[in-house]
Amino acid sequence: MNVSVVSPPRSGTLGTNASRPDGVAKVQGGFAFSSDMWAENMLWGATLRSPHPFARIVSIDVSAAWKINGVEVIVTADDVPGLNAYGLIVQDQPVFAKVGDLVRYSGEPIAAVAADHPETCKRALEAIKVEYEVFNPVVDPEECIAGRAPEIHPHGNVYRHQRIVTGDLSVEGDVVVEGDYEIGMQDQAFLGLEAALAIPDSGGDGVELYIATQWLHEDRKQIAACLGLPEEKVRLVLGGVGGAFGAREDISLQVHTCLLALRTGRPVRIAYGREESFYGHVHRHPARIWMRHHATRDGRIVKIESRMVFDGGAYCSTSPAVLINGITHTQGPYKCDNAVVDGYAVRTNNPPCGAMRGFGVVQACYAHESQMDKLAAACGIDPVEIRLLNAMETGDKLITGQVVNSVAPVEECIRATAAIPLPPDLESDPDFRDIPGGSGRTADRSHIRRGIGWGVSIKNLMYSEGFDDYSTARCRISNGVVSVKFATAEVGQGFVMLAQQIARTVLGVDEVLLDTIDTQVGSAGSTSASRQTWMSGGAVNAACVAVRDKVLAHVAQYHDMDVANLAVDGTDIVDTRGSFRVAVADVISHLDIDETAEYHHPPTEDLDENGQGNCHVAFAFVAHRAVVDVDPELGLVKVVQVATAQDVGRVLNPLSCVGQVEGGIAQGLGLAVMEEIVVTNGKVRNPSFTDYLLPTFLDAPDVEAVFIEEFEPKSPLGAKGVGEPPCISVTPAIANAIRNATGRELPRVPIRPYDVCL
């Protein structure tokens, strides 16, 4: 495009703080989330779940439940018309566990009921009698790797084993540091709980599902297979989504809700409560990681060895992909020529784990950033210096052999973060809310020590290993009205706003209507992997450009001008070589144009047996510096400030970027010091917000963010995904700060008070 924009960007276009179309309603409480949906003549659905992590179902007796007044239908595995299995990568998870078969985790669905009232559902579930033969759950991943555990599933107990071997393994460092690290099971803890409303077609041969999900088309594929219906008979409409963070990638209540609706011929709604939500979705993989870094005396990394074990729990979900993300990010954002990494993702009777913001990289990053501080200490250099010394650049080769041809401003991220002023020292008599212990008033000034810690990370963007996760968008002009349609799940990230910004910018219009987000257009891929700004942004951009080109062609033809000289400038179309100027609004008022575009990223490859291959599309980088006040005697922590500089390619909406950064930092802080699903012998012990603790306002730090804007030429808008990086290296940054304050090794997150002080 050959327009030179001189005026500041027009309000609502790319680069501005365009306001969100759903913003006011969400703030005022008027936005309809999935859990608010309702239909005339609707029934309520509920799910019976196994209390046991590992057992054989001997019998299911639903007769007493049928007798309860108001119960309309009870369904079990026998009632699943299609495939009684689903899963994102392999279909190994039953819709309902079957008589004679196994339940493999505590919370596994066994039956579902639809009734006239939630209370009736509750009574019906209590009336279903299930007889179990209970087994000792398999909860130790090492037992699975060693082949000593009983087989949990016909697919076996190892989801994937992958090695990465590169370079000269005989190289030894002058300095060698190692550590065993452990990462606990984090929950996505979205506020908008799982909810769906299924409305059967009048003929009973199809269904419409209103659903809070991350990927409508993938859901549809799996649902249709389970229902035994052709995909076109299953239509999905996005319900209001209250956060996702990976927890809505997998099927939860989709098939159950549709099945109940089809069986009763009435609309059915299922809505989970908080406790059921903990059982209903996958979590972040707990992991154990051993890492050994070899470096020269002056701190240059020469070799990394690592072994990573991800506990995938009872069903596969995305475990193989999470594993690959983990092991391919072993080196972090640092140069490394020689490496050997051994990675396992295994099946246990623990809760199933899958996608969560950061997707495997969070675990690897906690380990490598802990190692970087150890290495700095061993070499006697500053933690910042050692990171700068090893910082990766564009053109460097990863341990997979892939060349990083993304913009890679690692050094800039570190330097910009370091340049952010440190917070002032704690006052002599600080407010209790500003110090560790907070409202509990546990500490006085003299009990507190301050620590500073660093974390830097690299994160792949988009799906990997040969996956073509394309996105589709459609742009139309009809009677002068511009509308955009896509199936991109708006989960709170603001794509609805971005799509309008793109259309306004490309087409030179102010009003952009958004069509319903549903499966009546091609797939958008998942709202995950920091990919929608790039992928769906690319698709919306392509569709809008296609429409704009037609508009320009029309103008060129009408005024007998060369289309090559025409361009959109603000809300006008101008002749870049002359003085011709006409308002876009006037031109399009009588046009009808309809263009659909797909955006595909460049293809990627599988890894070979040595873990070599161009498996990732692109990368983003970020640095975090945490300042943490610690009460070493009680092990309590207050994160004072997190400074960060993030590689974003280009800021398309400053407010949105800040939102992602602040939210991600809070989530990473949660993993660092409090968020953990505590599982004992396969059972979740804290399935509620009483005991699964999320950071409150008092726990959240001041965030000082800087964006490194280096236009990413591979990205259709020059922008990189912003969603995941904020939550990745902040966790080790906080851990390193606590280590800095206390001198403790702290090999595990979340860091519990007793880890610090006992």
Binding site: G273, R433, G440, R441, T442, V673, L693, T696, P753, C757
Partner: protein, 278 residues
């Protein structure tokens, strides 16, 4: 489900006499969790929030006591005159939940639930509060130590309820501290209330046993071995903390470990004692 909304203590007595199974509802911050999360379905509910007598407090200056109605919400204890008179209670109230919870939650409910982690309870224990209980046969006064009899168990008979709590207005220092894994809105993993008068200290421990525990050995030892008017030295503090730790009877659970809880009450008691001199 029936819901009765009495406006006087007499009406509450009548309602409970007729239906001893009725469930009392004060702020509902415990009860509604039971209903919504744990599926409790009370048949009959007696709501207390319109009983103005329960929502007031008064000072008896001749006896030097203060009587707080069981329905006074935490928000009222956090600041103002009540906070000036009972600083430890104010600090305990401030640690309860979030502003929304403190606007609704009451001491009566804390006593009704009687969780070892209830934040109001160590203050009542340290100050030797007397619980004024009313039932069909009139009122009776129960010392806090006799009121809480176990984990979520109290000495109330069917048809009885808590009208108020009477606490002494002590000369001296009092304070409360609570450890949780989050800086606000968290259930105590360990808590301590300490009251220091001119000749002794009282120390009560929360969340480290089936009931609130008074660290009487620590109290007695300190009274015998330390002049209260002077600052304790490090040896005194250490021995005091050790005796407090020994008084605790904590357990391991998903919130924390027994070892940490034991450690934490020692640290808190020591810090509160130090704080009482600053």
């Amino acid at each position: 489900m029936s819901v009765a909304i009495p406006t006087s203590v007499g009406e509450v007595v009548d309602l409970l006499s007729r239906n001893p199974q009725a469930t009392l509802l004060a702020g509902g911050t415990d009860l509604m969790v039971e209903v919504n999360l744990h599926g409790r379905r009370p048949a009959d509910v007696v709501a207390l929030n319109r009983v103005s007598e329960l929502r007031s407090w008064s000072v008896d200056s001749s006896r030097r006591t203060i009587t707080i109605g069981s329905g006074v919400p935490y928000a009222e204890m956090e600041t103002g005159e009540l906070a000036r008179l009972l600083p430890a209670l104010a600090e305990a109230a401030r640690t309860v939940g979030s502003p929304q919870i403190r606007a609704a939650g009451t001491l009566g409910g804390n006593l009704g639930t009687c969780s070892p982690a209830g934040d109001g309870l160590p203050v009542l224990a340290a100050l030797d509060a007397v619980i004024d209980v009313v039932g069909p046969n009139g009122a009776r006064q129960i010392r806090f130590a006799d009121f809480m009899v176990g984990v979520k168990r109290n000495a109330l008979q069917p048809s009885e309820f808590v009208r108020s709590v009477t606490l002494p207005l002590v000369e001296g220092w009092q304070g409360y501290a609570k450890v949780g894994t989050r800086n606000a809105m968290v259930i105590a993993t360990a808590s301590v209330c300490l009251v220091r008068t001119n000749d002794r200290v009282a120390v009560a421990l929360g969340a480290v046993g089936p009931t609130i525990i008074r660290a009487t050995d620590a109290e007695t030892w300190l009274a015998a071995n330390h002049t209260m008017s002077s600052r304790p030295n490090t040896d005194t503090l250490a021995e005091f903390a050790r005796l407090v730790r020994d008084a605790s009877r904590p357990i391991d659970d998903h919130r924390s470990t027994a070892a940490y809880r034991r450690h934490a009450v020692g640290v808190l008691a020591q810090r509160l004692l130090t704080r009482s001199y600053s």
